[in-house]
């Protein structure tokens, strides 16, 4: 196993902050650019590249309104927790050969825990303003989230089987012969569904949906709205990086340095997720729960069986 240089806390913070902020910026830029392309009216490049900064400045100058009897502590903590969990999950993903913030032996467990706690953060975000639509959106989201949570666990464990370890660094190394997307073909599509759910975008945009006046974020304005959007974009970066590491071979690849390959693969997965946001319609929560338990879960079992048989 490659010697992993674990970074000291300060360098680690700087690295994760850089990756998340640059990644979030690129996610927002790609989102605006793709919106224009799909709408048939592409936006000028300069407008798209400066859009995140401008929108941030606008939101910071707006009044952060409160509601009548909110739970202020959770309202402030929800985007913080969401962003913190994105950072924690990114910490266990190996970003370059030998470079990882915290490539612990139980990386998948940490990742799964971050994902599960993200459910709590998103629910609390809807619950805290004490307003009807955000509350309903939050409860709907929990139902959907519990359904895709299992898919993510099964799929990650299936990827851990050939690596004989729960560490994401070991999983990357186990793909030196063949990437997991080839030998466990069901894994990546299921993981992408999970990524869409955790970042509540595209078909699984249950919690911030337009049919509930903006859902959980209906009462957010100003800095609350800004930080929630930043946290959501950061979580998308984290899940794209995890997908790249677990299924697309991470930093493995010829010619280019490992970090460049990692960046390239993360960008590809992020692009697919953002494209899904604009091209796929939102599903009904009830139907998704039914499909997840009756169709997707058996597929996850199948993925596990394939992984088990091919690893022996």
């Amino acid at each position: 196993m490659t010697d992993v240089t674990h970074l000291d806390p300060l360098t680690a913070t700087a690295l994760i902050a850089a990756v998340l902020l640059v990644g979030a910026y690129l996610v927002v830029v790609t989102d605006r650019a793709l919106f224009g392309v799909v709408a048939g009216a592409p936006r000028p490049l300069r407008a798209v590249l400066t859009a995140p900064a401008r929108e941030a400045v606008l939101l910071l100058r707006r009044q952060p309104v409160t509601t009548e009897a909110p739970d202020t502590i959770t309202w402030v903590l929800a985007p913080a927790a969401y962003l913190g969990l994105a950072a924690a999950a990114l910490a266990v993903v190996p970003l370059a050969p030998g470079v990882a913030v915290a490539d612990v032996r139980t990386g998948i467990v940490v990742f799964g825990a971050a994902e599960a706690l993200a459910i709590v953060a998103i629910f609390l975000h809807g619950w805290s303003p004490n307003a009807p639509f955000p509350l309903i959106a939050g409860y709907n989201f929990v139902g959907v989230a519990l359904s895709y949570e299992l898919l993510s666990m099964f799929v990650l464990i299936a990827a851990a089987l050939p690596a004989e370890s729960l560490s994401l660094g070991a999983i990357v190394e186990s793909q030196q012969g063949l990437w997991n997307v080839v030998r466990q073909p069901l894994g990546l599509p299921l993981f992408l569904i999970v990524a869409l759910g955790v970042t509540f975008s595209g078909p699984l945009d249950i919690v911030d949906s337009a049919d509930m006046a903006g859902g959980g974020a209906a009462e957010d304005s100003g800095v609350h709205h800004l930080l929630w959007s930043v946290a959501r974009a950061a979580m998308l970066v984290t899940f794209a990086a995890a997908a790249a590491a677990v299924f697309l071979g991470g930093w493995l690849g010829p010619l280019l340095p490992g970090a460049a390959w990692m960046a390239l693969k993360t960008a590809t997965v992020a692009f697919v997720l953002i494209a899904a946001r604009h091209l796929v319609a939102r599903v009904s929560p009830e139907r998704f729960v039914r499909v997840a338990w009756t169709v997707l879960l058996p597929l996850a079992f199948l993925d596990l069986a394939i992984a088990g048989v091919t690893s022996l």
Partner: protein
Amino acid sequence: MLNAFLAGATVTAAAILATVAATLLARRWSPYQSTAPQRVPVLGGFEPETHAWSRFHVRYYPMTLLFIAFEMEMMFMYPWAVVFVEEGMTALVEMGMFLGILSVGVVYAWRERAFEWQ
């Protein structure tokens, strides 16, 4: 290994603290106060009659019980995944039996319409 957890924890704590600080500072420095009509929840123009917090009828509560069963099974799968290759076929068969038993639970829930809300 302790270094790794320390680094990971620091990163998480830094993200949380930075966000909380940004939120609280922006709220304090905002020159506007929320007045009573501003604080009314958004419903399209009328006021809600009651608080939103209530004993909410969560329609998917049977599904959550099934989820807990699978979560406990997950806990067993984590160490199982690490020793799988050296244990060989027996490990696969045993986990298959475990998952099969749990799948009966899924089929039962499906028949009992736990996945339908309407």
